[in-house]
């Protein structure tokens, strides 16, 4: 097996080795598989490993590269996909017992994109059942059980991209794909100390992904660095006729070249002073330290305030109404009772009572908010604050009471489809990671990724890894 230090290398570093034939994609896949078989079950990180398929793909990549057909930085890089992305012929459980045997006969578009650039699919990452759309109280709300945090196995990874966070943090794959409706990339990235990117709504096709909330769902990468997220995003961002919510060809596509860094613009940062009511002590310290160093690496850092309004309420009503439709039949049939979580088994019934009038009102409020946020980005390129005000929570915590803090930025970012990136920015006294979040204007994913890269050029946090035993 390859050394652990190699398995924790970034996609960029691994790609250099692969391109120059110093590293065999087969050996890399074998090493990640072996590590995943050893540590994956400890964290409940995977829904399913796919060793046969992965090694076939790795051999094909190796053959291609030896023939001189190198496809780019993801060629031969092993990754995991959240188990709500359809993979042809392979069980796609959506993290939920009632769908445990579900098999699709096609690939999600994002899986196809990654296949086309030669990435190697190692397996399906564990997740919260139905991405938590019907509500959940406990970390155990998953067919795979509670996903344990590689930094402290008595703590949770956050959800719903729980396995994706654990897999990247534990060095079980080169990167992972997660999804976010409200917090499901940003939170696990912060809890697990990895870089997680939520793209602008409509840039990454959701064809073949479980639909939870049609106007809120997004797909994005979770990786070792902001630069890795940039490379992966460039491979998966594209218009897709099979997903009518994707943006037009020229607005959806994203290109990245490290040489472009030379043309970097000086970013103006708005430091949010009202995103969180209070921080847990360990988090506050790391966030203050990050705030202090930002002016050295950005054109300006000025205090900024989010507009006030019923944004969380609007996001909640939109989510509840759309889930009442996406899983309406599942709820009405009573099969929802087969879910694991006690709240998930009943939450959907409340969703069914949201009226069309209230849903439309929420959408109208959303329209107002979009304009307010767009105006805010006249003054700033990115907004910054903590990804979350608390570190990873204990596995047994009741999340309804324990993680019940207002999250206006999460609501705003997801209602308006804004890109966001969480990057590690320090640790609490208990050695739990803390995340710093950058949020950008809709469509300006480049600014958010650039902000993360600038921060990581100056800080070591993304290179820290948990000690596994």
């Amino acid at each position: 097996m390859l050394k652990e230090s190699i398995l924790y290398e970034s996609v960029g570093e691994l790609a250099k080795r692969i391109e120059t034939k110093q590293l065999s994609p087969v050996e890399l896949a074998e090493s990640y598989l072996e590590r995943s078989q050893k540590f994956g079950p400890q964290f409940n990180a995977y829904a399913r490993l796919m060793p046969v398929e992965a090694l076939d793909q790795a051999r094909a990549a190796e053959k291609d590269i030896h023939r001189g057909h190198y496809r780019g930085p993801l060629h031969g890089i092993p990754y995991a996909a959240k188990d709500l992305l359809a993979v042809k012929g392979v069980q796609t459980t959506w993290g939920a017992k009632p769908f445990a045997e579900q098999v699709f006969d096609y690939n999600a578009t994002v899986i196809e994109h990654l296949k086309n650039v030669g990435a190697v699919l190692l397996g399906k990452a564990a997740m919260i059942e139905l991405a938590g759309g019907l509500g959940y109280m406990y970390a155990s709300a998953s067919l795979q059980g509670e996903t344990k945090n590689p930094w402290d196995t008595s703590c949770w990874t956050c959800g719903s991209s729980s396995g994706s966070g654990a897999i990247v943090a534990a060095g079980l794959a080169g990167f992972a794909i997660g999804t976010e409706t409200w917090g499901s990339i940003v939170c696990p990235a912060a809890f697990c100390g990895v870089s997680g990117f939520r793209p602008t709504y409509g840039r990454v096709s959701r064809h073949g992904a479980m639909a939870l909330s049609y106007s809120l769902d997004k797909i994005g990468p979770m990786a070792r660095s902001a630069e890795d997220c940039t490379r992966i995003f460039a491979a998966i961002a594209a218009h897709d006729p099979l997903d009518r919510s994707t943006l037009a060809v020229d607005k959806a596509a994203f290109t990245y070249s490290p040489a472009e860094e030379l043309k970097r613009r000086g970013l103006h940062v708005g430091w949010l002073t009202n995103a969180w009511k209070e921080y847990e002590p360990g988090v506050g310290k790391a966030i203050q330290a990050a705030h202090k160093i930002l002016p050295r690496y950005f054109a300006s850092v000025r205090d900024a305030k989010l507009p006030e309004g019923p944004w969380e309420e609007a996001a909640g009503v939109v989510l509840q109404a759309e889930v009442a439709s996406s899983f309406g039949e599942f709820i009405r049939s009573g099969r929802v009772k087969e879910l694991h979580d006690p709240l998930g088994r009943v939450g959907g019934y409340v969703n069914l009572t949201v009226t069309g009038g209230d849903y439309t009102t929420a959408q109208r409020v959303r329209g107002i908010l979009q304009k307010k946020m767009d105006a805010m980005f006249e003054s700033y390129d990115v907004l910054a604050t903590a990804a979350l005000p608390a570190p990873a929570t204990p596995l047994a915590m009741n999340l309804v009471t324990g993680l019940a803090f207002p999250d206006p930025l999460g609501a705003i970012g997801n209602l308006c489809g804004l890109p966001a990136l969480s990057v590690p920015c320090g640790f609490t006294e208990k050695n739990l990671p803390v995340g710093l979040q950058f949020v950008g204007r809709a469509g300006d994913d480049a600014a958010v990724l650039e902000a993360g890269q600038s921060f990581q050029r100056a800080t070591p946090w993304h290179r820290k890894h948990p000690r596994l035993s």
């Binding site: 006729p241 309004g309 019923p310 329209g367």
Partner: protein, 136 residues
């Protein structure tokens, strides 16, 4: 109300069903009474922040669920459903209090299906067109 897919509903049926539904949403015994008095139970947390009308609406929402699906829940689950109804009501009251002009349109618009979009071709990098999932 339990029409199978593809069945049409005529206007008279719609009116009758709407009347039945309104009867479920605001049961006669509860309408315009304080829900605590009607049910003689402790109100969920946060209920005191709701308006009187909001409490009635939340309770009617709960009763609607119970009348349709009540046999599916044990007492603990009933409590969770009721908590959820009151929580949703709080959100709705704050949402409805937000000032909107008549011309403030929803953020999500219809995107007409133009001729050129009717037969989607495979994405440049997408694989075979999807078919229905094979479910067990």
């Amino acid at each position: 109300m339990n029409k199978s897919k593809g069945q049409k509903i005529n206007r008279r049926e719609f009116a009758r069903n709407a009347a039945l539904l309104s009867a479920v949403i605001v049961p006669a015994g509860i309408a315009f009474e304080e829900p605590a008095a009607a049910t003689n139970e402790q109100l969920p947390e946060g209920a005191e922040k709701l308006s009187a009308e909001g409490r009635v609406e939340a309770e009617a929402r709960f009763q609607q669920i119970m009348s349709q699906y009540g046999s599916r829940f044990d007492s603990e689950e009933q409590k969770r459903v009721r908590d959820g109804c009151y929580s949703l009501q709080g959100s709705l009251e704050r949402l409805r209090a937000f000032h909107l002009e008549n011309g403030d349109a929803p953020a999500v618009y219809l995107k007409p299906l133009l001729d050129r979009e009717k037969k989607p071709q495979s994405a440049p990098s997408a694989g075979a067109a999807p078919t229905a999932a094979k479910k067990p």
